[in-house]
């Protein structure tokens, strides 16, 4: 008995300490970007302020607002329909709504441009109808525009919010909603007054992921000729050879995101919602009548068609037409690389997320909270900037070890970490930690602290409480986190390009060598495989989440 209490006593420090170590490892690359920002080649701001900065900021804000609003409407709306209504085709839509998630944003942008631009089939058809011969004869919305960019990005980003919101709705104890209904509130009022506020933390996690992704996207906005802050960043880095200045722009973007998220957290600082039991067992879905059922189905079908069916069909047509140039016997290797890397990174990222979120839960010290918050910053940095942040500490460690071995053993160890698979997994984990720690934290928040008290009073250590009590309760949140990180890793491009080992291709880098030259047709097959390999686990996992 004595030894037992001693052990559990020493473990009180285990979680905060582990969290600190992990947190510092995660922070290193972000600190490296701070470090870079201290040494700009020249002060870039006077030039930017006096020229393009106002326009860049303006474009960035409009883009974020547009994508934020439309993907929230799509994501929350779809999640609510699926989790609380019964209609024909609901089961299919439940997972089909996730499909657009596997389509990289630059791919959907490319496909729709091909379809809707002047030379595309849609406008050709319109010209034939109206007997027109030049672009001046009729009006057609320009796909390469702000509206186009907002539409494209919302179509592939809304699944973040859909997934998070749906999980939150399913985790809600149905008794709350039933109580509200029995008190005479209509389903709509109950939704806005009961279900939505409880799901808010999860929806915000999804929304902040969407906004960060929008903020640091370069491929899509560049293709659509929308100059955002990211354009200014790349310009400063590549054209003015001023990586310090570029790091400063990245930090300004980061501060912007942090302020936004903190403001939201502050606004619900007094709001706490717990539940004692998991899930939707016994939940009564509202049975929709025939007409409403058709409308619900159609509403879900729109994002699925636009975000997945159309782009996937076009990719298939390209892949068939260009099969001879797109097929390479190395595809099996590319698939293996992408898949194994993404699975590993997703599991590592989940583990780190659990450590940080759980340490914050049991420790509640300022340090643990700060660790959890700052470790999510990697998502707000553009991938290429984060890659440079990863290289700096890794290469420094390698060279340090090498120096020691040279001095003491007369041996050179060369580079061990840089340019290895480890560097890629490290980068992915940092980049996507916000996804896993956010999902885990928002799920943990809903587990009442009574659970901890009961478990501890039954003699469980903190670690046992986590493994035997919390993780089983929040398994939906955990699966959601793994799934999102997995798909994100499959699509990850800028950091992979810079950090990868020699002769190492993922499906995304393979697609990029053509897509970077606007030759997507040549790599449509690989793009299709990204979508396929990314989507099968998503469907399987999402069914597991629902059946639990």
């Amino acid at each position: 008995m004595t030894s037992f209490s001693l052990r559990s006593g020493s473990k009180e420090l285990l979680w905060p300490t582990t969290a600190c170590v992990v947190g510092i490892l995660v922070l290193l690359p972000i600190l490296a970007v701070f470090y870079l920002s201290l040494f700009p080649e020249e002060n870039i701001w006077p030039h930017l302020f006096s020229t393009v900065l106002p326009a860049y900021i303006n474009n960035t804000l409009i883009l974020m607002l547009g994508v934020g609003v439309s993907s929230t409407l799509l994501g929350v709306g779809a999640a609510w329909l699926i989790s609380s209504c019964d209609f024909a085709g609901r089961k299919i839509m439940n997972w089909a709504l996730l499909l657009p998630f596997a389509v990289p944003a630059y791919v959907i942008a490319y496909v729709y441009t091909d379809l809707l631009e002047y030379a595309g089939p849609v406008q050709q058809f319109i010209r034939e109808l109206g007997d027109w011969t030049s672009p001046k004869d009729y009006w057609f919305p320009n796909i390469r525009s702000m509206g186009g960019a907002i539409t494209m990005m919302s179509l592939v980003l809304y699944p973040y919010i859909y997934l998070m919101a749906k999980t939150a709705f399913l985790e809600q104890s149905p008794s709350l909603f039933i109580t509200s209904r029995s008190l005479g509130r209509s389903p709509w009022v109950s939704f806005f007054l009961v279900a939505l506020p409880i799901a808010r933390p999860a929806i915000i996690v999804g929304l902040s992921l969407v906004l960060m992704e929008t903020l640091n996207d370069f491929g899509t906005v560049d293709y659509f000729a929308i100059r955002t802050l990211t354009a200014g960043l790349y310009d400063t880095w590549l054209n003015l050879s001023n990586i310090g200045g570029a790091a400063q722009i990245a930090l300004v973007m980061l501060i912007f995101v942090v302020t936004l998220i903190s403001a939201e957290r502050y606004s619900r600082r007094k709001q706490k919602t717990y539940q004692n039991r998991q899930g939707s067992h016994g939940r009564e879905r509202i049975k929709l009548k025939r007409k409403a059922s058709i409308i619900a189905f159609a509403a879900c079908l729109i994002p699925v068609t636009l975000g997945f069916i159309i782009p996937a069909s076009l990719l298939t047509i390209y892949a068939i037409n260009y099969f001879a140039v797109s097929w390479t016997p190395k595809f099996a290797t590319h698939v293996f690389n992408s898949f194994s890397l993404s699975v590993t990174a997703a599991l590592v990222t989940l583990a780190i997320g659990v450590v940080l979120a759980y340490a914050k839960r049991i420790d509640k010290s300022r340090l643990s909270i700060v660790m959890l918050r700052v470790s999510s910053l990697g998502y707000a940095l553009p991938g290429a900037v984060l890659a440079i942040g990863v290289i700096i500490p890794l290469a420094a460690t390698d060279n340090f070890i090498d120096d020691i071995f040279r001095d003491y053993f007369g041996l050179s160890t060369g580079l061990i970490l840089s340019g290895s698979i480890f560097a890629l997994i490290y980068a992915y984990s940092i980049r996507f930690l916000a996804v896993s720690s956010g999902a885990v934290e928002s799920s943990l928040e809903k587990v009442t602290p009574n659970m901890d008290l009961v478990a501890r009073s039954l003699g469980y250590t903190q670690s046992q409480t986590l493994l035997k009590v919390h993780l089983p309760i929040i398994n939906k949140g955990l699966l959601t986190a793994v799934l999102v990180v997995f798909v994100d890793c499959m699509k990850e491009l800028p950091a992979t390009l810079i950090l990868r080992p020699f002769n190492f291709e993922t499906l995304a880098t393979y697609v990029y060598q053509y897509a970077s030259d606007e030759l997507l047709e040549q790599s449509a097959l690989a793009a299709l495989i990204i979508v396929a390999v990314g989507i099968i686990p998503v469907i399987l996992l999402s069914r597991t989440i629902d059946n639990k």
């Binding site: 030039h47 930017l48 020229t51 393009v52 326009a55 002047y118 030379a119 030049s134 672009p135 390469r144 293709y223 659509f224 000729a225 100059r227 354009a231 790349y234 310009d235 880095w237 590549l238 054209n239 003015l240 050879s241 990586i243 290429a384 890659a387 440079i388 290289i391 700096i392 290469a395 420094a396 390698d398 060279n399 070890i401 090498d402 071995f405 041996l411 050179s412 160890t413 060369g414 580079l415 061990i416 840089s418 340019g419 800028p494 390009l497 810079i498 950090l499 990868r500 080992p501 020699f502 002769n503 190492f504 880098t509 060598q513 053509y514 970077s516 030259d517 606007e518 047709e521």
Partner: protein
């Protein structure tokens, strides 16, 4: 105890693993050029020499990676797509000068660094593409002409920030000074049919569609398009024009190679450099990507030659390079992309 020993042994084995990997002959390349362009050349090199070529391709960030990896960097060579990124790598101090008889004979002095810190491998012209249908031959002959009011709403181009356009603008600054270049750029912007967007090929497509009549684009894209089943009709709609043939000559940029300071396989790296500057590789560049060989006496491919001879601006590219930052800022100042 034993397990602790085993662990440290294991760790040591892991650390020293790179030392004992059998040294198959190899050379490591950081490439800013796309793999599908370079692979046939590397394959030919491996076939001839039995030296394997390992590649990492990325369009940005490799210079920074090289710098941070420092003396232990595995990279031997860096391949780039224009002089801008070549000189950026040189300036960050991670290249070394190398001169061999083969290299200095193959590459004329204006196409290499005086100390051998970089060598050009191919050249390409920043050409003007003109609609065959709507622009009579000889109606436009210089870059300066693009600013004439008669072309209002008739010109298409990619972003002014793209390295190819930046280099052209920098060359304008080198010849005319910043002030005159600014007014040229303002006038050019006011002639644009649409906001700068897409790549060089997309502009030619826009001419075919009737969106505009003139565009700026690298010469090799003409070859790429002519030989692509879908794009050949875009190319068929335009005529390639080499600008400024009656005065200073057309603006030419290079793709090139540099040897890293840390190069662990230096002998093999030099072999690859020499190979890329020699007849076979130079011909392959022209046959497969429609660029101009830099080695004197190596003819361009039949298709490339069919576009006619041209006079290149003799101003050294290193002079152009000095105005790169000014050019980038000018693009912002006149809000060219806005």
């Amino acid at each position: 105890m034993i397990s602790a020993k085993m662990k440290s042994l294991g760790a040591l084995a892991l650390l020293s693993a790179p030392l004992f990997v059998s040294a198959a002959e190899e050379v490591n390349v950081y490439s800013l050029r796309q793999p599908f362009l370079m692979q046939p050349l590397f394959d030919a090199f491996t076939k001839e020499t039995n030296i394997n070529v390992n590649v990492v391709f990325a369009k940005s960030g490799l210079a920074e990676r090289l710098k941070r990896e420092g003396k232990n960097s595995p990279a031997d060579l860096v391949l780039t797509t224009d002089l801008g990124n070549l000189s950026e790598i040189q300036e960050s101090g991670v290249t070394q000068g190398i001169k061999t008889d083969t290299l200095t004979t193959n590459i004329p002095s204006q196409y290499r660094d005086p100390n051998g810190e970089w060598y050009a491998l191919t050249t390409r012209v920043r050409a003007i593409y003109a609609s065959k249908e709507r622009v009579p031959e000889g109606a436009i002959t210089t870059y300066e002409d693009l600013a004439k009011p008669e072309w209002k709403g008739k010109i298409c181009t990619r972003s002014g920030k793209h390295p190819y356009n930046v280099a052209l603008i920098a060359s304008m600054i080198a010849h005319h000074g910043e002030e005159k270049t600014e007014s040229w750029l303002v006038a050019l912007k006011s002639n644009l049919a649409q906001k700068p967007q897409g790549n060089d090929r997309a502009q030619v497509k826009a001419i075919k569609e009737g969106v505009c009549d003139l565009s700026l684009g690298n010469s090799y894209y003409y070859g790429n398009m002519l030989t692509d089943p879908e794009q050949s009709e875009w190319a068929a709609a335009v005529r390639i024009t080499f600008p400024n043939q009656n005065d200073r000559g057309a603006h030419v940029n290079i793709s090139g190679v540099a040897l890293t300071k840390s190069s662990p396989n230096k002998a093999n790296a030099i072999k690859l450099m020499e190979f890329l500057t020699d007849d076979m590789a130079q011909r392959m560049y022209s046959e497969q990507n429609y660029e101009y060989p830099v080695k004197p006496g190596v003819p361009a491919s039949a298709l490339v030659s069919s576009w006619g001879k041209f006079k290149a601006d003799p101003l050294p590219l290193t002079e152009v390079e000095k105005h790169r930052a000014a050019a980038v800022k000018l693009v912002d100042k006149v809000n060219f992309d806005g």
